[in-house]
Symmetry: D2
Subunit: 287 residues, 4 copies
């Protein structure tokens, strides 16, 4: 993996001539060695999207000056909505989980392996069962059960914890609670959910039971950002597996859980590496 | 391929002990050499399904006597719903098509190749464009345009043609018309449709546009039997292909058409080889 | 899952008329309620394969008498090679691992979840790194490093441990050592390996590097039984994932590890549930 | 589809700072509206690859001057190997085929449908069988049988025909003849073959028989450019389908033929739309 520090910019702006030229000229002028560049134009919406990554080694601008300089010289001119990241800065991720283990183990095992560049300081659960798993991996576990009545208050408690741990993004590793809009507002396009169906098929509860009843020949899993509307947020990643009449609901669940964890894990990878731009209800995943 | 003649029985009946034993004993007693045997039990519905195929070479019963003998000795006892087929008898298939060529070419090319065991005496279309394709392959082409007003009458005309050609089953190779219940009743579980989405996602018109709008990362195609309710019949086969933000609606259509023809072609294969049992709104595909 | 106890028979024998009839009649006579029945005939080799599973609840034969009765009444007559299993008896599995964590976590997490019916009393490794993981899951960890010189002796030590723990089958969760023929003889068709390529492409060392060099558009993983010849044993399961020019070797490894663990996990599932019959260098997987 | 004329440049050159900036500045200066831009850097080989497409509508340079201007202002400076294409100019494709129909029908049907932007003036075959198919689609058919002895002479005859028809690239739609190096030299990276296996597994003759014998659980197809070494040319596209013990060699062939045609068809799409850069024995497919 890259040990040298890199910088990365994600851009969304109205499409017009000269954007690519301006950005690449800016980097060239400052001796930025481009590692990766991706762009996409949504012709219908007349929007331009770009992801560019360059070595900081030899770059003429100081890290602290990049933001203001780029804003002044480039971003203002093209009315860009943009963000700057440094790859050496690890993201901080919190996990919310109820009682299924498969996604939790997957995430914690991935985070321990050498590929992921993330810190996981906090696991929050509405159940107690998975405390042991958290401890095993040396992650703080907070048990915060919720009722309809105390939900708002509990969410405040959660937000306080998330703030304290400086959490950048949240992963719902099969968390069986719906968040309030107020909670979601604090993490725009930063709460990643895994839904155990091929959305938009089978939203809501018990998708495997519905899939079985419908007699589909393929089941799926969908990872998406949480928005106000349940199971309607921008889709990040999907995948599928074949099933047959031989598979009962239990088999669908078993096969599906393998999918869920893989699809969630890929979505986290894209998010963690700043490969995603959200535009309306769609994602551009630069991979 | 098998050139020797085989017989094949498809069975549905209430589940109880001894069905497999009775059927296999019947075949053994009559010197039937079993080529293939598949069974499935739906425990919830307490239903038993079986497909068994055997060489007629050396079989002690005359072809004409198999039906009545099996009915008397086995089927009555287990209250079977069952059907008998002989593999040397080619099925007769009619194609309904509007103006897309991809599924039509696929089917006609497959039927010409050595694998398919089917006759296609008739193509019916509500447009004139594909007459040339039909003629190329030596298949009779009937142009039967329909309006809301004359639909019932036109369907009568179609049924007459289908009867005249002794059609066993119908394939809708992207046929943009909805049949009346009266028409469908004449071909129960014998009208195969291809829908250009991963059902139950995106039923109805313009699924590729809806998929694009939704921002899915995978598109699909679904082949199913036509029933009264649009796009709700028993699913025979499904498959998918990955898409990305780079794909516009045109790309989805192009990629999807490859899927459509392959999925439809597989569904026809299963139907043609009597591999499908329908049970409620689900299929058992013995493959 | 089935909590009632079931019995299961796996049969290989020369093909002839009447085998299915005889086996099903035997079960029917003894009031065995068949849950699942699968058969396959290899026409070229003229071999018959069967897997049949039935409820012991209400079965007239005592568990201890099934073996001798079936042998006498059925197996002798058809010259069967066959084995009898009881689903309530958990298999005992040992894991061999070197230093990669992904397959180990996958297996241990699956074994903890509710689906798997297996005991894992022993992990053996030629490295020390994964001791902590083993302890976390409460599994005994034995560190047995090997050199060319002491391999034979170390294998004896391993065999002793395996015997002591009454191990039924071994899983090599990325174990970077080759076993001697003498070792393998002790576990015929019972050592499951995961190879990180789509065999027979890229056998041996560094398949991801070779795949990258070759410029393939898809990479794979293969789970197979270990035999004398390296990477040549009967294939149990394979799967693939797309790659592109954007993926460097590190990316292939990362994507491939997701595959490896899933493919290995499926192979274990088939083995654990006695769904596999090996015939020459091929497997029949009844699923 | 784009009806406006576009221009497209494919670039390979040594990697250094400023290439993207220079190319995009060149287009911007000349009022070129970029439709699509892709780049890739092979860090190991220190090579830079780019594909850029822009509207000619409003572009300040005359079509006839683009080549020399870009060469002088940009290409010389960066030592580029590059090519310029205009999307309104249809490629001319020749098909070589022996006697299988599946790939031929696929290609001809695709070429008739609205998506493909290609002319097919010529089909060459070493057999006579498919003459009728060619005529059906209005394509000239040349029967050129070959023996070991007259191969060189026949290839000269073929080259003459290809030249006369101004053929840009050749598709081998299951053509069972090996070309001489002399022939291949005339169409560098412009002869597209389909091999009926997942290369590098099962090169050479009878891959389906080998796959069956090996007992693989997945079969594949590979489309690649023809080079001197048989089945070793740069891979353009691959795909796979699952098989099981139930599938005999005939089934593998049937399932495989569906794959072959789809994979070949995708490879043609990439080539036709100038999405491919070849680098050593690998392809960069900008899609």
């Amino acid at each position: 993996m890259n040990k040298k520090e890199s910088a990365l910019i994600l851009i969304t702006c109205p499409d017009r001539q000269g954007i690519s030229a301006a950005v690449t000229a800016f980097l060239y002028k400052n001796r930025g060695n481009i590692i990766d560049i991706d762009q996409h134009v949504d012709r219908k919406a007349s929007l331009y999207f770009m992801r560019v990554k360059w070595d900081l080694d030899g770059f003429k601008l100081e890290k602290d000056n990049i933001k203001s300089t780029f804003q002044k010289e480039i971003a203002d001119r093209f009315k860009m909505h943009w963000e700057l990241y440094f790859t050496n800065k690890k993201s901080k991720m919190a996990i919310f989980v109820s009682s299924y283990t498969h996604c939790l183990y997957e995430i914690l095992a991935c985070a321990k392996a050498r590929f992921w560049n993330v810190d996981i300081p906090l696991i929050i659960s509405n159940h107690k069962e998975l405390k042991g798993v958290a401890e095993t991996f040396g992650v703080e576990f907070k048990h915060i059960p919720k009722t309809k009545e105390d939900k708002k208050e509990k969410e405040k408690q959660e937000l306080k914890l998330l703030k304290k741990c400086k959490i950048d993004f949240i992963v719902l590793a099969r968390y069986m609670q719906i968040f309030s809009d107020d909670f979601i507002k604090n993490f725009p396009n930063s709460i990643i959910n895994i839904h155990h169906s091929f959305l938009p098929a089978f939203p809501g509860a018990n998708p495997y039971h519905s899939a079985f009843k419908k007699g589909v020949k393929i089941i799926g899993a969908t990872s998406h950002y949480i928005t106000k509307v349940l199971d309607e947020g921008p889709i990040i990643e999907q995948d599928i597996i074949r099933v047959s009449h031989r598979d009962n609901v239990e088999d669908l669940i078993r096969k599906g859980q393998d999918l869920e964890k893989i699809v969630l894990s890929r979505a986290i990878w894209y998010h963690m590496n700043r490969m995603i731009v959200v535009h309306g209800n769609r994602t551009i995943v630069f991979r």
